[in-house]
Symmetry: C2
DNA sequence: AAGTGGTCTAGACCACCAT
DNA sequence: TGGTGGTCTAGACCACTTA
């Protein structure tokens, strides 16, 4: 029996395996898209049976840390367009097909974290942050304004050029350039009114109702890595939430 | 090998077991809160190993059809206050603790399904429906107005008296009186403006922004059983959506 | 053909609950 | 004490991918 697998109190073996694998994933021991060792090899390394390894990986799959492909292997979950669409982008046309959003970066600034922001990002108030404003479009029509807040410490050399120059989703950038793998989000929604500037950006009337989405993006061990406030024009689009459909 | 377990094409054994159990659950063979036969007995009945039965039940648990209790057994999932709060009620105070909502039925009427409603409920346009309006309160403050639409055929003898006289959640009523077990919901959210009547009910100003939630409640085999449109005053409360947190 | 994950089995033992 | 679900094992075989 492997001592490394033991947790503080009595706990199932597979939880120990899961914990070790999670730590290796969080440490970036395997690159995104790369294959993990086969189940047989992991079983051998940890000194447990394959069934126990499978049970651990089952949970990693459920938490979207890894992806299994029969006959090929188990891979570090990678951020791409389809993952964005199915797990991280929740706006759909009121009538018609789901589509990929187009993102235009409007402003990129450096600032300091407000106390509330700092608490949500688990950093100290006043710590340096990036503030990024994006305009999201669907079918060529401006639909939402995004305001992101990131701790500079977590994205050391980020510049507007890097941000704008990317040819993939921003979570793919976080993952490949900074080793930060966004696993899930926690969102709070409310209705609000458009202010003058957003009114202009979204092409709605003053006093038009907008959907406000406050998102916290989380990585391994539930660590928050991004705040985002979106203001959405819901005349032609809606936020969807299919709950209980075997996960998120 | 049991012929009954076979599906149309080649499919894993445990999928067949799951299918049979789901059909028995949908047919109401076991009452809500009642124990299913033990895994050993099910394995014997279906002529498969316990491991195969466990895998089938794992999926039923993930889809919230049943609940397992170590040492006691596996039970038909039952609608109670805590299940409501964790899976079907998504409004939380912007600051403070989650609370159970108080529901007051304002109106109870009979009518006919509009074409759009009929499509969503999978009934024919013009079929008889119930239309129910509720006022939801949290901490003694009116927070939302609910408009429900139900097919009369699915709730044969429903009356206002039965509805108001219940001492539990409405999904508990659906389950115990009509054998309809709501398993999950699909929701679409947008921002809208308060009309005159809702303005009065929620105590907000004319032109105040409200959160509009359009819900479809689904039972076994993804059959829709209830439509609900909620208008929410989000000055003090918000809609939360924690996605990917090992199921929705 | 070799390697991977997916299914299925049979059995041992443990943890928990009711009685 | 007996019954239940939970864990863990070892091995066989299947399905799929890659070379």
């Amino acid at each position: 029996m492997n001592q490394l697998l033991e947790l503080g109190a009595v706990a199932p073996l597979y939880k120990g395996v899961k914990r070790l694998l999670t730590h290796e994933l969080a440490a970036g021991d395997w690159r995104p898209g790369q294959a993990l060792p086969s189940e047989a090899k992991l079983a051998q390394r940890f000194g447990v049976s394959i069934g126990t390894v499978r049970k651990a990986i089952d949970e990693l799959v459920a938490e979207r840390m890894v992806v299994r492909h029969q006959g090929r292997g188990t891979f570090v979950a990678s951020h791409n367009a389809s993952r964005l669409l199915f797990h991280f982008f929740h706006l759909v046309p009121r009538a018609g097909e789901r589509q990929y959003p187009k993102t235009e970066t409007l402003t990129f600034r450096r600032g300091r974290a407000e106390p509330q922001e700092a608490a949500k990002l688990r950093i100290a108030a006043g710590d340096p942050v990036f503030r990024i404003r994006n305009l999201l479009s669907l079918e060529g029509r401006a639909v939402a304004v995004d305001d992101q807040v990131l701790a500079q410490a977590r994205f050391p050399d980020l510049t507007e050029k890097i941000l704008v120059g990317r040819d993939n989703t921003i979570y793919h950038l976080y993952q490949t350039r900074y080793g930060i793998n966004v696993l899930r989000t926690s969102e709070r929604l409310r209705a609000t009114l458009a202010d003058l500037e957003v009114t202009r950006l979204l092409g709605v009337k003053r006093g038009a109702p907008l959907l406000e989405i406050n998102r916290v993006a989380l990585t391994y061990h539930e660590v928050p890595v991004e705040l985002r406030r979106s203001l959405v024009n819901t005349e032609q689009h809606e936020y969807f939430s299919d709950l209980g459909k075997s996960e998120g």
